[in-house]
């Protein structure tokens, strides 16, 4: 597979095939090569010699926008939406920023909405064709640039224009470029001569293609990717279904019409206004317009010598680096706070919490970066209030954000307390390091952050001379940005050449005895039948046990489409044999599985909408559910969850199971269905408890909630940052446990010689007496 620059070279050589768009030719666009950087670009301007990509062109729109109308952030979206709707596109609601349908932590681009896995391969799944979506995205690989460059974000909205093209439906390059050209010229009123298309290429997980980026006065507005090839063992192949994937930052449309010093001024307009009031920082628009034109080039990934770059800017502005920093850094901090609070608002709304693991790690990094700024400038800001202003500002596009402000408030409170505790610890740790004359180098700073949650800004408050690496947050987050663990596709047991096992337990869940043919015995212990009623371990539900002939079945697993049964004892290949599933165990597993869905529902109702299933296991002895929650559960919360779960049990709510196309299931029930993570199937089995809960689930369930029997939560524990575990049992297993407790209590009352109700009091007295006598001793 060629890398991006090799592809660019290849496409550029074959430019007539990949980039020659008749629509542009008809309009009079000419292909040129930038005399500065060598990139190929298309323009109407006969005098243009340079491409429009900085540094070849400065941000000439700042203070000098190319449009007559000045559009706000929301108005810009409405303009874009109306334009595409008029041109036959369906406007979709945003997908969650927490990516639960594909192995990524976050939705990092609009096209991710339509990524799905099928048998380990990426496929596109579009709910409408063509479509447009204002997709809020989160990215954490640019943190040091956020607030500084005027255009980098951790949270931004990508306008995603998509079309699936197979020769009959959808549209391809010509129409895409015509639409994007018309959007800029007709909907936004930009002079066609201002538009420059630059040739580029895009490489995705297993597809690639050429792309055209479009610029206006130095600002890249969008990138139209034409996904049309895939790499196979026999070489490059054209895709049968090609994809138009045009992504454009929403803030850029608004920015180009307003020409403000930074894009934050338009994307976060009411938030910046509020923060300026709260912090009282001085703001001289003329100065910042001049500064922003120059600071647009301050990309910390690209600028090798940051201090030299800042010195050059300071010289051009006729000031010193120190004075420039003093003037600029508070403003950069409020821009960063505006961005980071929005990222947290979206992430918490969609069920991700700050923590020290997985995607939550990135959220804590930005939260602590904000708190660091507040410490540095001695600002007492109400972060929840800022999130609320965001939610109100974005209400016309994302009305759901405002409903989560209470959750956000609680979570931010807990995190702020944790940060305060860290600050107290920091003082002692840093004091020890300084006393021992240990080096405070980059490696040590990263270790302090990773193991103690101590930010370099906090260290700097005790060690003022400390040099914080510009890319510190890039380094600490890069290991946490990688894709989630890939699905396990290989197994040790070889089932090649075997036909798929006929799965019978879904169609006949109440049949426990059946006859089947033994097709193969693998490694003398794993039996493969032609059909099976044994449920293999999956979806966190332990497998059935029973007998194949007289041989006990100890474990059942599924590899691909083949079910294998681990037996103890002898059976023969080719035998047609009677098999029995242990009904009693199956019943308990079913009850524990339905109970898990019920407890998950109860947790969400009692604790808040931020609760998602993080993991689950259903055994015959107990059920375990791990949920996302920011704090240890109180006794009252546990009691409330148990009471609510048992109310659901008592209501005898029917459990409905339906098989739906993935897109239909997502549309009907939303992304809550992915409680167990991404499902690599085109059709989903949706298990619903009335209108309370809908989950994609392969497990076996009761017919209604009352069949579960009462649920008893017997243990809860905060197992890791942001994750709480609940252990519980239902029906006869719960009853057996409670009767054992009753026996123990009876024994205790006998030993203490008191009534049951007085046991705690008596135990306390006994303990006090023992302690007192021990002291005397």
């Amino acid at each position: 597979m060629l890398n991006k620059s090799e592809l660019k070279r290849k496409f550029s050589k074959e430019w007539e095939k990949h980039y020659k768009i008749d629509f542009l030719i008809d309009k009079g666009f000419k292909r040129k090569i930038c005399s500065n950087c060598g990139k190929a670009f298309w323009t109407l301007d006969p005098n243009r010699k340079l491409c429009a990509d900085p540094p070849c062109q400065a941000y000439d729109f700042i203070g000098n926008p190319p449009t007559k109308q000045r559009l706000g952030y929301i108005e810009s979206w409405k303009t874009i939406e109306n334009f595409f709707k008029k041109n036959g596109h369906k406007s979709l609601r945003r997908y969650p920023v927490v990516c639960r349908w594909y192995p990524l932590y976050f939705t990092i681009a609009g096209i991710i909405d339509f990524y799905r896995l099928e048998k380990g391969n990426l496929v596109f799944d579009f709910p409408a064709n063509p479509s447009i979506v204002p997709q809020s995205c989160l990215r954490f690989n640019d943190i040091p640039n956020v607030g500084v460059t005027g255009r980098h974000y951790t949270s931004f909205v990508m306008v995603q224009q998509s079309s699936l093209y197979d020769g009959k439906q959808g549209y391809w390059k010509e129409k895409c470029i015509e639409l994007d050209f018309d959007l800029l010229t007709k909907a936004f009123g930009i002079n066609p001569e201002e538009i420059v298309f630059i040739e580029d290429a895009w490489v995705g997980p297993n597809a690639f293609g050429p792309s055209l980026e479009y610029f206006v006065r130095g600002l890249e507005i969008g990138n139209a990717v034409f996904t049309e090839f895939k790499q196979t063992n026999s070489g490059v192949q054209e895709l049968e279904q090609k994809v138009i994937d045009m992504g454009a930052g929403l803030e850029r449309f608004s920015w180009i019409t307003q020409g403000t010093p930074t894009s934050y001024d338009v994307a976060f307009e009411p938030i910046i206004r509020y923060l300026k009031q709260q912090t009282g920082i001085e703001y001289d628009r003329n100065f910042f317009e001049k500064y922003s034109k120059l600071s647009g080039t301050l990309n910390m990934d690209e600028v090798k010598n940051m201090s030299k770059a800042k010195q050059t800017i300071a010289q051009k502005l006729g000031t010193t680096v120190e004075l420039l920093e003093k003037r600029v850094s508070p403003l950069e901090a409020i821009y960063a706070i505006a961005d980071h609070t929005l990222a947290l608002t979206f992430a918490i709304t969609d069920g991700m919490l700050p923590s020290n693991v997985g995607g939550g790690y990135n959220l804590r990094v930005i939260l602590r970066r904000m708190l660091g700024f507040m410490d540095k400038f001695r600002w007492n800001l109400d972060l929840t209030k800022i999130c609320e202003i965001h939610a109100n500002h974005l209400k016309p596009i994302y009305p759901e954000l405002i409903d989560h402000i209470d959750d956000i408030d609680k979570i931010l409170e807990v995190e702020k307390k944790r940060y305060s505790n860290t600050k107290i610890r920091t003082q002692n740790i840093v004091k020890r390091i300084v006393e021992n004359q240990e080096p405070l180098n980059e490696e040590r700073l990263i270790k302090l952050y990773d193991s103690e949650g101590i930010t370099p800004e906090l260290v700097k408050t005790f060690v003022p001379d400390l040099k914080i690496p510009n890319d510190f947050y890039v380094k600490v987050t890069e290991t946490h940005m990688k894709e989630k663990k890939k699905l396990k596709l290989t197994q040790e047991i070889d089932v090649s050449g075997l036909p798929p096992t006929k799965i019978m337990f879904y169609d006949e869940p109440d049949k426990y005895e059946f006859d089947a043919a033994i097709l193969r015995i693998i490694n003398n212990e794993w039996v493969v039948l032609d059909k099976t009623y044994f449920y293999p371990e999956s979806g966190g539900q332990k497998s059935d046990i029973g007998f194949i002939g007289n041989a006990p079945v100890l474990n059942v697993q599924k590899i691909g489409n083949v079910v294998i049964h681990k037996v103890l004892g002898s059976v023969k290949e080719g035998e047609y044999i009677t098999c029995r599933v242990n009904k009693y165990r199956r019943d308990i597993l079913k009850k524990h599985h339905t109970a898990t869905h019920i407890v998950n529902t109860a947790c969400r109702e009692i604790l808040g909408q931020h609760v998602w299933q993080h993991g689950a296991e259903k055994t015959a002895e107990k059920a375990r559910l791990d949920i996302t929650h920011y704090d240890t559960l109180t006794e009252k919360q546990v009691q409330d969850i148990e009471n609510r779960a048992n109310q659901i049990v008592e209501k005898k709510i029917p459990i409905k199971i339906e098989i739906l196309e993935r897109g239909d299931a997502e549309k009907k029930y939303g992304f809550r269905i992915y409680q167990g993570g991404a499902v690599p199937e085109k059709k989903l089995r949706i298990v619903s408890i009335g209108n309370l809960d809908h989950e994609a689930c392969c497990g076996l369930h009761c017919n209604n909630t009352s069949e579960v029997g009462f649920i008893s939560i017997f243990k809860t524990k905060r197992i890791q940052d942001g994750i709480v575990r609940l252990e519980f049992a239902s029906g006869e297993v719960a009853l057996k446990q409670l009767k054992e407790k009753e026996k123990i209590l009876k024994e205790v009352t006998k030993k203490l010689g008191v009534k049951e109700d007085d046991v705690p009091k008596k135990v306390q007295e006994l303990f006090n007496t023992w302690k007192m006598l021990r002291k005397k001793k």
Binding site: L738, K739, E742, L745, E756
Partner: protein, 60 residues
């Protein structure tokens, strides 16, 4: 499931009684920071040690 005997299901009232007993036991175990099943043994140990210490102090 060989170790799990079948239990007949009970009504809400009976269930609540059992839950109440479980809570009492949980509170008592929490005071001594022990598992529920260890509580009778630990109480007995405390009772014996108290008796011994009282005896010892009585002699003094």
């Amino acid at each position: 499931m060989e170790n799990v005997e079948e239990e007949k299901m009970i009504d809400k009232k009976e269930w609540n009684k059992l839950k109440k007993k479980q809570n009492i036991l949980r509170q008592a175990s929490a005071i001594l920071n022990v598992k529920d099943e260890d509580l009778p043994r630990i109480i007995e140990r405390f009772q014996n040690e108290i008796k011994e210490m009282e005896k010892k102090f009585g002699k003094l």
